[in-house]
Amino acid sequence: MMKLLQYTLLILAALSFIYPFIWMISASLSSELGIGSLTLLPVDLTLRNYTTVFERIPLGHAFINSLLVALVTTGLVLILGAMVGYALARLRFRGRNLIFYLLIFTMTLPFQITLIPNYITMVKLGWVDTYFALIVPFVMNSLAVLLFRQAFAGLPQALIDAARIDGCGELRIIFQILLPNIIPTVLTVIILTFMGLWNEALWPLIVIRDESTMTMPQMVTLFSVGGRADAQLGVKLAAAVMLALPILIVYLFFQKHFIRSMASSGLKD
C-alpha cells in the first residue's frame, strides 16, 4: 500500500517536471491556433515559429556568441582555478591562509553589492559591448578554486615528488600529472561553469547593448519582453526551445555527471 502511494507520488512529480518541456517543444512546432491544446504531439506540424524567430532576431549569431563566451571562459576557469587551487593545496607560502579567507569572503559577498561598480569598471575599461565584458569578470571562480584545492589536497605527495625528480616545472605538474587524476572534479567545474555562463542573463543585459555581441539568453529575453515577438506564443516558445536545447542534449548524455557536480556544489566544505 505504502509502495503504491510512493510510486504514484513520484510518477506524478516526474510527470509535472517532464510534461511542460514536452508540451513546450510540441507547441513550438504547432500553428498559432493549435497551441491552446494540451496534446503531446504538435497540432498542424509547422516550422513557421522557428523561421519567424530567425527572421526577426539574429539568433544564430547569438548562439555563436554564447558558445564562444562559455567555452573560452570555462577554459580559463579551469586553467586559473587549477593554478590557484594547486598553490593553496600543495605549496607553503606566506599569505596562503589570507588568500583562502578572501576566497570564502568572495563567495559570501552578495552580487548585488558589486553589480553597479563592476558595470562602471566595464565602462571605464571601454569594454561595454565587447566579449571582454562577458568573459573577464567570470574567469576566476571561487567555487572552482575551492573544488580544485580539495581535489589536489587528496592526491599523494609521491606523485608530485616523482614529477619534480624528473624535472617537471610546476605548470607541467599541475596540468600533465595531477589534473588527469582528478577528472571528476574537472568535469564538475566544466559543467557548473558552462551551465552558469550559458544561462546567465542579467550581466549580459547590463553590459551589452549591441545586437552583434548579445548572448542567447539575453536576446531571447529582449525578444520576449520587447515587442518583436508580437505576443505570438509559438514564436516565443520556439526561441525558448532553441535556448534550452543545447543544454538539454548535453544533459541527456551526461546526466550522472550533472547531478553529481550540482550535489558537490552544495556541499562545498
Binding site: A13, L115, P117, W198, A201, L202, I206, A240
Partner: protein, 283 residues
C-alpha cells in the same frame, strides 16, 4: 626565485580580487555618497541617497515583494524537496529516471522556464486554469491579480529549483546511520516517528544549507518577474534586484542604485547571519 612560484600561481586570483571584489566593494560605498549619471562628473551629496532610500516607497515595496516571495518559496521548497527525497531514498525502481526528471528544470535557463510558465499560467489558455476548469474550480488570474502574481512566481521558482534540493537532501539522508532506524524498528516506531525523531534532527545541516541557498537565490530574483510581468501588476512583482537594475540602467541614477545595492546586500547578510545563529542554537 623558487620562493616566488606560489605567488606567481596565485597572482591571477589576487588581480581578480583587487579589480572585481575589493574595488567594487570600496567604490560602491563611495558611490553611495554621490550623485552620478556616468557621463557628467560625480557630485558629492552626503547622505542624501540614504534619506531618499528610506522615503522611497517603491524600494520598500520591492523589499516587501521579495520577502513575500521568500516566505512562500522557502517552506514550499523545503517540504516538496524533502518529501520527494524521502520517498526516493527507499528501495525504489527507476531511481536514476526520477532523479533525472526532477533535475530537468534545474539545468535550463530561467529565461526558458519563465517563457514556458508564462503560457502555463495564462488565464484562458494556460494548462493550470484548464485543469482547474476541468475539475470545475474557478479560474485563477495567476499573473494579473496583484495579490497573487508574486506567489505564482514563487511556485514557478520552486518548480525550477526543487530538483537541486532533492539531490542535496538525498546526499544528506544517506549520511544517517542505518542502525538508528533498525533500533527504532525494534521499538516499534512508525514511519512518521522515525522521520520526526531520527531523520529530521540528523539532516539539520542539510536543511540549513537548503534554507541559506534558497534565501540567497531568492534575494537575487530578477529574470523571472522581468520577463513574466515586468514587475506588474501594480508593482506587485517588482523585486529588489529589478528595482536596482531599473534605477541604474533606465534612469542612470548610479549613486542611488549603488546605495540600494549596498543596503540590500546588508539585509541579505543580516538575514543569512540570523538563520545561521538560529540553526546553530537549534543544533
Amino acid at each position: 626565485m623558487k620562493k616566488l612560484i606560489p605567488y606567481w600561481l596565485v597572482s591571477p586570483y589576487i588581480l581578480y580580487f583587487c579589480v572585481f571584489v575589493s574595488f567594487p566593494v570600496v567604490f560602491s560605498v563611495v558611490l553611495t555618497f554621490h550623485s552620478w549619471n556616468i557621463i557628467s562628473p560625480m557630485k558629492f551629496v552626503g547622505v542624501d541617497n540614504y534619506v531618499r532610500l528610506f522615503n522611497d516607497r517603491l524600494f520598500w515595496q520591492a523589499i516587501y515583494n521579495t520577502l513575500r516571495f521568500l516566505v512562500i518559496h522557502i517552506p514550499l521548497q523545503l517540504v516538496v524537496a524533502l518529501t520527494l527525497a524521502e520517498f526516493l531514498n527507499q528501495k525504489i525502481r527507476g531511481q536514476a529516471f526520477f532523479r533525472g526528471a526532477f533535475f530537468l528544470p534545474v539545468i535550463v535557463s530561467g529565461v526558458v522556464v519563465t517563457i514556458l510558465w508564462q503560457q502555463l499560467l495564462g488565464f484562458n489558455a494556460g494548462i493550470l486554469n484548464r485543469a482547474l476548469s476541468a475539475l470545475s474550480f474557478p479560474k485563477v488570474a495567476w499573473l494579473e491579480e496583484p495579490a497573487i502574481a508574486m506567489y505564482a512566481i514563487a511556485l514557478m521558482a520552486t518548480w525550477k529549483n526543487v530538483g537541486l534540493y532533492v539531490i542535496l537532501f538525498l546526499v544528506g539522508l544517506q549520511t544517517v546511520p542505518v542502525q538508528y532506524y533498525e533500533a527504532a524498528d525494534m521499538e516499534g516506531a512508525t514511519h512518521w516517528q522515525k522521520f520526526r525523531y531520527i531523520t529530521l534532527p540528523m539532516i539539520n545541516p542539510t536543511i540549513f544549507m537548503v534554507v541559506v541557498l534558497s534565501t540567497i537565490g531568492g534575494f537575487s530574483l530578477f529574470i523571472e518577474p522581468y520577463i513574466m510581468t515586468e514587475g506588474g501588476p501594480l508593482n506587485s512583482t517588482l523585486s529588489a534586484v529589478m528595482y536596482i537594475y531599473k534605477q541604474a540602467f533606465q534612469y542612470y541614477h548610479m549613486g542611488y542604485s549603488a546605495t540600494l545595492g549596498f543596503f540590500f546586500a546588508l539585509i541579505i547578510l543580516g538575514v543569512v547571519a540570523i538563520q545561521k545563529r538560529y540553526v546553530e542554537r537549534e543544533m
